[in-house]
Amino acid sequence: MRLHCVDKSLLYLTYARKTLLKLWKTCEYRIVERNKTLGKTPNITHRGIEGYVHNSLWQSVLGEIELSVSHATFITWFQNTELVEVTDEKVTIAVPNIFAIRQFEVKFNDQVKEVLAKNGMHPAKIAYTVRTQGKKTVVSRETTTQTASDSVDELIAPRPKPRTSASQLSPSSGLNPRYNFDNFIVGSSNDLAYTACQAVAQYPGVKYNPLFLYGGVGLGKTHLMQAVGNEIVKNQPDARILYISSETFVKEFMDSIRFKKKGFSDKYRNVDVLIIDDMQFIAGKEKTQEEFFHTFNVLHQNNKQIIISSDKPPKSIPTLTERLRSRFEMGMSIDIQMPDFETRCAILEAKAALSGVELNHETAEYLANNIKTNIRELEGALNQLLAYAEMRGIEPDITTAEGLVGNVRHSRPQHLTSKQIIDKTAKYFQLTTPEMCSSRRDKHIVTPRQIAMYLLRSELHLSFPKIAGELGRKDHTTAIHSVEKIEKSIKLDFTIREQVAEIKEKLYA
């Protein structure tokens, strides 16, 4: 991971070759030193320094070419090319296939030469070769025998008798073994979901069927669902588990109709555990919903476990048919919320420990305090911090973090005004700003008005009298009451929480 970052940042630099070499060498030295202190054996790169320098040079060549040819041409011919050898006279470029060789020789040669020259290389000849995976296609027989003998046992093995024709169609479960319960960090925001998932993993199909997890992006739904799958595989290795996204389901269903493929329904109906991620994408697709409805019934009837995730509770998914909605709600629906401050700190420290770095508490707290909405973003910031510190050879401390977090949070505009908040909130609820600020107390205006007050407080930290003034109230206690009321509702009422989140999204879009 860290090497990757170093590599990437190298790519972006368009320094002269020498500078790159020097920089890489220092990085390499530091990594070796660091690994020594961590007791790891140095494992730098399989291509060596030259490879990285070539690559970064080639990336800048590609960057220039991309500007001068059409996108389709670039994707077709220049993607997956690589600079493999550089000598004073000759430059060798690996291209993906035989067709590209001729294309480069005849059509792009001058262009490549020109851009190489701009980057300080003047080879007399440019050679093109087909890129191979490090193996030659034509190999002497001895080597074939040796390399292949390992894989021969798995090549043709007696195949288990099919329980049904379907098991041929679903050889893999789609689970990623990286996700398990041990590396999931539990906090008050997700412990209910965690406990339910563990119960399901222990007694699949018996407890909580279906299990419906919902919550915003990057809060760990996928992690938890996959952990259930992996746990069940661990306990019962022959259990048939299928993890897919609802998009795959939709696509396969459409393919099965279009190409009259058989086995679609069997594939999904003959599993012991069906895990479907991002269920909201099925919304609006009537036929697919009907097919899923039947699949659901068959599985549920046979006490097979179903686990579903979505970004909204079943109630709030628009255009979800009534019969599916009621079925999703019949098991257990659990909301995964934003992790609280302590959980965020714990996540950061655990992730840092996984990378072999000890993160001091102060830095963790700083990051946790500044990135509140999304665990993925949190991890990204941490990775960035570690890579940066690694490259500079410094400790990942709070000063470095302060410098970097600005980058992560670039999406937050500084100049949000109270007028914008009121306008956007009004627009979201299809009201006008004068209505919001009027003295009317109809219910459909009151809640939006309270939400606007809450947002003014939470996003702009305005004083209560100021908030009251902005919305045409005289008494600041109205503002205090409103903010408190919404704060409370956010914890209890999903609709309000969602509305607030969506308005916030609009504010920062």
């Binding site: 994707i75 067709f99 590209a100 020789e105 043709i156 288990p160 008798k161 024709s165």
Partner: protein, 366 residues
């Protein structure tokens, strides 16, 4: 460009090219067919960057030139024309086609952007000339066991390689394996040709073609049959060392008439649909019979028996579809079927002294 060709020749060439022209592509010109004059002939070419095909047809050329036009449209248009002469004329990237009372204008793209067709260095590559009938048989006997699982690319092709002085073809999908000896060779070859390429070559082989020329280099292969050429990339990677999987001898050897074997397999297969094709074969040396038993829990069950020469008793469970596939490509009136117990590979081959083809099917675990 201005020329005239016969409808029959043009239509044949366009149909072959339009099969290769890519429908799903980033680069729009790849869904076009290239038409280019080549001395006194017309070259018709298409590529999808995996395969390229070129056809040369005789033409009366008035003015040389080139153009690319959408593959589907021109192929379908020309194939619906009446037999006789077709006039082609290019003006400002428009192709005017006239034949009898039919005339149309197709908007084309200038041929400058069409990918260069790959060339192969004839001096440094390995060449074979193979009898077309032998080629057809060898390819169809092996191609059916090539895998279509894209996660293991090396198995999606047929492995052409030299071994002990002969050129062999082999293909496996992990459940069955075929090997065919084709011709003698002195050269060292090891190339995995994509099954899709071979299918395309089979389609281009018309009955009047007697020889197929093949040209290998390290990364590509070219087939030439008559005036058509197919050039394809090779699959990168090492084919597994499959030879150790072919059992030298087996416990039970059954020699049976092929037509009988086909019939009982087909009948048993009817009752095996529900169980994923699973059928159980029982060889009995006392009765000299081979029996196939299959059960469909909902529908009923079946036992079909045929007389056979049996060396020793045994039982094995197979997928009936694989068995039927194997029988469909075996030549000769009698078939040898040998197996050892329930887990070792079963071998099907033709009964003849110099048999050059083996077809292996793995049993199902019962």
């Amino acid at each position: 460009m201005e020329l005239s060709v016969t409808q029959e020749n043009l239509s044949k060439a366009l149909t072959a090219a339009s099969r290769v022209a890519s429908t799903k592509t980033q680069l729009p010109i790849l869904s076009n067919i290239l038409l280019r004059t080549d001395s006194n002939r017309l070259l018709v070419a298409a590529t999808n960057l995996e395969i390229a095909t070129t056809q040369l047809i005789g033409a009366k050329i008035t003015k040389p030139g080139s153009i690319t036009v959408p593959a589907k449209l021109i192929a379908e248009f020309v194939s619906s024309l009446p037999k006789g002469n077709v006039e082609l004329l290019v003006k400002n990237d428009h192709l005017h086609i006239t034949a009898g009372g039919f005339s149309s204008v197709i908007n084309g793209i200038a041929s400058d952007d069409f990918p260069e067709l790959p060339t192969i260095d004839e001096t440094s590559s390995i060449q074979y000339s193979i009898n077309a009938a032998d080629f057809k048989q060898a390819v169809s006997q092996t191609i059916l066991t090539a895998s279509n699982d894209a996660t293991r690319p090396v198995l999606t092709g047929v492995y052409w390689h030299s071994y002990e002085g002969s050129l062999y073809l082999a293909a496996t999908d992990g459940y069955r394996l075929t090997e065919k000896r084709l011709v003698e060779t002195q050269s060292d070859v090891a190339a995995i040709i994509p099954a899709t390429t071979l299918q395309e070559v089979l389609r281009t082989l018309s009955d009047d073609i007697s020889e197929v020329d093949m040209l290998f280099d390290e990364t590509q292969v070219r087939f030439r049959a008559g005036e058509s050429e197919v050039t394809s990339r090779l699959i990168d990677g090492n084919f597994p060392d499959y030879r150790q999987l072919i059992p030298a001898s087996s416990e039970s050897v059954v020699v049976i008439e092929k037509s009988e074997f086909v019939r009982i397999t087909k009948i048993a297969g009817l009752f095996a649909r529900e169980s994923g094709g699973s059928v159980t074969l029982t060889a009995s040396s006392d009765d000299k019979t081979l029996a196939i038993h299959s059960i469909a829990s909902q529908l009923g069950e079946n036992t079909s028996t045929s007389t056979a020469e049996v060396s020793a008793e045994g039982q094995v469970t197979l997928n009936s579809r694989y068995l039927a596939d194997a029988l469909s490509v075996l030549t000769g009136p009698t078939v040898q079927f040998r197996f050892s117990g329930k887990l070792s590979p079963c071998v099907l081959s033709t009964v003849s002294k110099n048999s050059d083809y083996v077809h292996i099917v793995m049993p199902l675990k019962s």
